[in-house]
């Protein structure tokens, strides 16, 4: 092994715990080893000890920024088990909330990306304008970040014409600013120098390594759960799937900026075509779905999100499984971060390349065992993990 640079578990631009060991030659990165198992929060296990209603609030806390996507996914899952559909107005409001979450997440990421290439002024401006969408989320749901908006069978609040008026006004502002940022990214020479031909992920590699979300779309693959497998009312609300084919960090920035603009248009469409009527199904206090299992997929801001539930007919899920987009993007990141052939990665590119997948480590922790002395590695399957966690859980209970 050569000169190893550790990035993480504590590092100024990645406050989340993850360790990347870079093998470098001078400024060039020749190898990378990513360790993501610093945060095992036991959320899936905790789900098994909560009722279905309590589970919403747990699902919301898997990830702070994409909480709208997580709760949408969770509620859809339980509704599928119950065989019920929320009323149309509830579905539309859910979509508005989800798209606002996307705008919020993408703008936050855009600021962080600017910070990662050392462009702090851009960072400050984007985060200032992000406040507008946070205001809207607060106006609509009552909370700024963790919205607690979705519930099984619809949403928890209705919106009034005054709120709609305000949303339209702020959306106009956001659209103007986002277009300006797109122009800035396209014209500022130092931004172009730092993002073009950096973090290349070819389309074939992206597909083979199961990349998801904006990373996949920036590699020119047209894949979006909202279009491919529409959930909620996504089949009624028109939108374009944004793709760029330069396959680099620059393309990922543009994909996200364009998605913000698409989301703004989607919210406008929803406000124009908002059906009247009830926004929530009346559900029993104790939800007891029939025996069975269900899968639900949602396009979270970071990519495809998958929730899976097994019900044994009780008031708590028998098993709950979450597959977050960042986990799916980690193998692709390792590919992007390794120099090969003509493509060279420098130490200076590490933050922006890793940042370009919009990492969210707190929802990504996994367990892999490596015994270095015996040179053995193994992964615990479902049964072993359940046995181990049951043992641990009982001891601490």
């Amino acid at each position: 092994m050569g000169f190893i640079i550790p990035i993480g578990p504590q590092h100024p631009v990645h406050p989340e715990p993850l360790l990347m060991k870079f093998n470098v030659e001078g400024e060039k990165v020749v190898g990378v080893d990513i360790n993501i198992s610093y945060t095992h929060r036991g959320i899936e296990k905790a789900m098994e000890y909560r009722t279905y209603l309590q589970g919403i609030y747990l699902a919301e806390r898997i990830c702070g920024i994409c909480n709208a996507a997580h709760t949408t996914c969770y509620c859809q899952n339980i509704e599928q088990l119950l065989g019920k559909e929320p009323p149309p107005r509830g579905n539309y409001l859910r979509l508005i909330n989800e798209e606002m979450g996307r705008i919020h997440s993408h703008l936050l990421w855009l600021g962080l990306a600017a910070h990662q290439i050392g462009f702090d002024t851009f960072f400050m401006y984007v985060w200032r304008d992000r406040e507008k969408v946070l205001d809207l989320i607060e106006l609509m749901t009552g909370n700024r970040v963790i919205t607690s908006y979705n519930t099984i069978g619809g949403v928890r609040r209705d919106i009034t014409p005054t709120i709609i008026e305000k949303i339209r006004k702020n959306l106009d502002f956001l659209e103007k600013r986002t277009k300006y940022y797109k122009k800035l990214v396209n014209e500022e020479p130092t931004v172009l120098m730092r993002t073009q031909n950096v973090g290349i992920l070819k389309p074939s590699e992206a597909v083979n390594l199961y990349a998801v979300g904006p990373v996949l779309r920036a590699s020119g693959i047209k894949h979006d759960i909202r279009a491919d497998d529409p959930y909620g009312v996504h089949d009624e609300v028109p939108f374009n799937v944004i793709t760029y084919d330069t396959c680099d960090v620059y393309a990922r920035i543009l994909v996200r900026i364009d998605e913000v603009l698409e989301s703004i248009n989607m919210i406008r469409y929803c406000l124009d075509h908002l059906p009247s009527g009830s926004f929530k199904l009346r559900m029993p206090i104790i939800i007891r779905p029939p025996k069975g299992e269900s899968i639900s997929r949602v396009e979270a801001p970071r990519g495809e999100l998958l929730h899976y539930v097994i019900s044994d007919g009780g008031i708590k899920p028998y098993r709950y499984k979450v597959r977050t987009p960042t986990l799916a993007n980690i193998p692709a990141t390792a590919k992007m971060l390794t120099s090969r052939g003509d493509y060279e990665v420098y130490i200076a590119d590490i933050p922006i390349i890793f940042g370009s997948i919009d990492p969210c480590i707190c929802c990504t922790g996994r367990v892999l065992f490596i015994d270095i002395e015996k040179n053995r590695r193994w992964i615990w399957g479902y049964d072993e993990l359940v046995r181990y966690s049951n043992k641990r859980f009982e001891r601490h209970d």
């Binding site: 640079i5 050392g118 702090d120 500022e188 130092t190």
Partner: protein, 322 residues
Amino acid sequence: MIEILLKFIEIIVFPGFIFIGLLSLFYEWIDRKFYAKLQNRVGPLYAGPHGILQPLADFIKLLSKEDIVPEAADKILFTMMPIIFFSLSLLITLNLPITSIHGIISFKGDLIFLVAMLTIISIVVYVSGEVSTSRFATIGAERAILQLLGYEIPFMLSLISIAISSNSITLSEIVLAQKNIWYIFTPNIIAFIIFLITGQAELERIPFDIPEAEQEIVAGWIVEYSGKKLALFRFGRDIETLFIAGLGATLFLGGPLGPVIPGLETLLYTIYFIIKSIFILLILTTIRAIFARLRIDQVLSISWKYFIPLSLIQLLIVRVIY
């Protein structure tokens, strides 16, 4: 006796150590406040009116912090480097003509001395990174030297252009030569632009803060320094900022020269110097705010592809005219 006392006061109080120290803290405040304004923030606010005492407060706070020396570091060099860095910055700043056309230290050929000292400061940076034995510090130190290869030659060429124009390598004579017209209004304008950009690289500020890139290598060469040592480094950097701004004012904006009322020369010269150097400082701050950080290989290629040829063209122009 009185003369010695006056000389002593000149070196210690005005325009010597204390004046330069306070002025550099004031410049740091201007830098931070203006940078914050450009970014739509408020900047320092609480210590003193409009936060003007914030740099001093930061300095005092750092002095009181715990001073940690890494186990594996070379203890003697590790302790010496901040002191050398600080005293070198102070030494070169004493050369600047502030109260009159002569600096406190003034001799024939001091421009060359200043350039040499600036290079030694870069080498001090390298050694400080290298002796602290951290991985990030090692990479930062290497980057500092690589960057030196990029910016130093155009920096020197821009100074040489001034030296040719004024036919002198002494600061006081260069100032006198600008009695009628400042060099910024002559064809030396290319040299001025190159001076600003390479000065930014000398000060390790965005887009050239590569050796201490926070997002990439935490704090680069400075990462292991804490407490008093970090305070000295930061204070030294402030004084160096004052030096670059002042040198720009001296070489291109006529130094302390300006219309004077007889009897008030010292005061007016000082005010002119401060105004001119703040102008340079504001340009440097604006550069800091409007760019992203470059990569080290990009800095080198830009420097060798554009800045050095441009500087040579500038030299040709100046040689033909003067």
